[in-house]
Symmetry: C2
Subunit: 332 residues, 2 copies
DNA sequence: GTGAAAGCGCTAACAC
DNA sequence: GTGTTAGCGCTTTCAC
């Protein structure tokens, strides 16, 4: 049997409520008893039962982290891992635990959330992707459960979120390529279903427009988030016309593009990925990539969520995290 | 206010205990009332409060996953990520949540564990590394708290654990190299502090012995788990003598070795890593590596732990997970 | 400044 | 079969 607040109370010759007050550092307790209680706690090696505390407080000091279903490469994508690290660090600092869970597929996601929320197991939830018309966001909004998403949601005014400025990030990349003399720039993105694809496409289009280059729909592809889909898209694109640069929305996609290019013996096409994965620097040629600062995204997500849970006044409902193009041989 | 068991009871005109019985599918409840209660639950959209349930049951159906401190590359090492995936899948299937936490450094680790255990927040704990004279294991043993470790512990009879057969895995690698005609084989491992280093070194020594090759201490290094340390070790080793093969205990180490070799213009030294990271296949030349099946390690760790928690009779206190050498250009 | 008592939502022993 | 009751360990009114 573990030691409870009652045991401490007995030992210190006070009532349980007094012990509770000492724990929460309540002011109107005399220093003398405070000392006595603390001593008793130390002697008995008392540790509060957080479950019991959670039940009374209706707060578990736990954040739910939902990783998306379906994507087999989920945990292989360093983005999630780095984000988790940021979340975990900040949460720990603030005394929160992280409940880690994953959906088996897209349909499963709301189900998982419903259990998490309904069971009252977590004070808030962190979503790691945003889709068009996101069912999970809709659900959490409906349930009025605190949450934050990594990615810019539809209703950017209401929802709490953190994201990079994806339009600008891609704009800068394309603009740079144009300044370097590239004129026919292809775009290969992941599924349009993901917001991030959309915003990066917008940045691409914007850069073309400002530089008076007409967008060519035959140079724009939005397929799956896989190396294979990107490989196929590239082959198709090349059949129509070989661009002098290709920008992508993910390193994984860039890998597929590079494979297709090399196979065709094409060498002078610039290439840019996103997420700055470790592998991109080991490719031949090494691939330039945009570092999205995932750990910082995670940290600030945790921050927004915890502030929200604790009703800390906030000046904003979102944070924009800076990005940085890491140039390598593929854009030299 | 969320709906409680009482609300359901009122609605169905039964007592709370009856509702509770329906939830746990207790046998001696008439089908009629069962139906009525179920209907009420559905209408009210009732979801049990797991915190309350945990308090009475003294079980949270949550597993604590502790990731080690200090190592900055913690989450970058795909081993942990893959293991997490295996753990998470199995746990979910069995209705358990995963509480994810990390220590900031080695001293912090017992502290974190103590809080986790003392707060009664988790039913069991998964440790992801084992050290010589492991403080965390000692602590959990002392507290008699269910736990399982990934890695072979000192007291392999008592503790529950999963691991690869690291002696055999390395033995097979070295034996294969010898069969291929290599005679001077170097060993570069991570810190001796980690059990895994020790076992792999044993496998290395065993293979040499069986093949009547005398071990040469100048060809054996145990340093940090970093690319840099491996790079330095290799340079030192070469100064003494260039081996015709080098085996390592981690891909990261193999990368450092390869860098040193390439810099010296040495090309005919076979090289083998461990963990079969994605990067190893993209290196030039691609690096052969032992796949340790981390996801399976995680799955079986979860299995052992949950069985232990639920007092399911078990025929064993450990599982040995198979490994597989993935041959690439570095051993061709 | 401190204690008594009620209550958080659930389960389980004990009645009937 | 079903209801009554006590209790899990804590916090928090409300007394004094």
């Amino acid at each position: 049997m573990s030691v409870t607040i009652k045991d401490v109370a007995n030992r210190a010759n006070v009532s349980p409520s007094t012990v509770s007050r000492v724990i929460s550092n309540n002011s109107r307790i005399s220093d003398a008893t405070k000392e006595r209680v603390r001593a008793a706690m130390a002697e008995l090696n008392y540790q509060p039962n957080l479950i019991a505390r959670s039940l009374t407080n209706k707060s578990t000091k736990t954040l739910g982290l939902l990783l998306p279903g379906s994507k087999a490469d989920l945990l292989l994508n360093p983005f999630f891992v780095q984000a988790m690290r940021g979340i975990s660090s900040y949460a720990k600092e603030k005394g929160y635990y992280i409940l880690f869970t994953h959906a088996d597929n897209d349909e499963d996601e709301v189900e998982v959330l419903s259990n998490l929320v309904g069971s009252q197991w977590v004070d808030g939830i962190i979503l790691t992707t945003v889709k068009d018309n996101d069912k999970s966001i809709a659900f959490l909004q409906y349930r009025k459960h605190p949450f934050v998403v990594i990615g810019k949601p539809d209703d950017e005014k209401i929802t709490y979120w953190v994201d990079n400025d994806n339009i600008k990030a891609m704009y800068d990349v394309v603009d740079l390529l144009i300044k370097k003399g590239k004129k026919n720039i292809g775009f290969i993105g992941g599924s349009h279903e993901f917001k991030v694809t959309k915003y990066r496409l917008l940045g691409y289009l914007k850069a073309l427009k400002i530089n008076n280059i007409k967008a060519d729909l035959n140079l724009i592809y939005e397929k799956d988030y896989t190396e294979e889909a990107a490989y196929e898209a590239t082959k198709e694109m090349i059949e129509y016309q070989t661009p002098d640069a290709i920008v992508t929305t993910d390193d994984l996609i860039a890998f597929g593009v590079q494979r297709a290019l090399l196979e065709q013996g094409i060498e002078d096409v610039s290439l840019v990925g996103f997420n700055n994965t470790v592998i991109s620097q080991y490719k031949k040629p090494s691939i330039s990539s945009v570092d999205i600062n995932a750990e910082k995204l995670g940290m600030f997500a945790a921050k927004l969520l915890i502030n929200q849970i604790e009703d800390t006044p906030m000046e904003t409902n979102n944070y924009i995290i800076d990005t940085k193009l890491i140039e390598r041989d593929s854009t030299k």
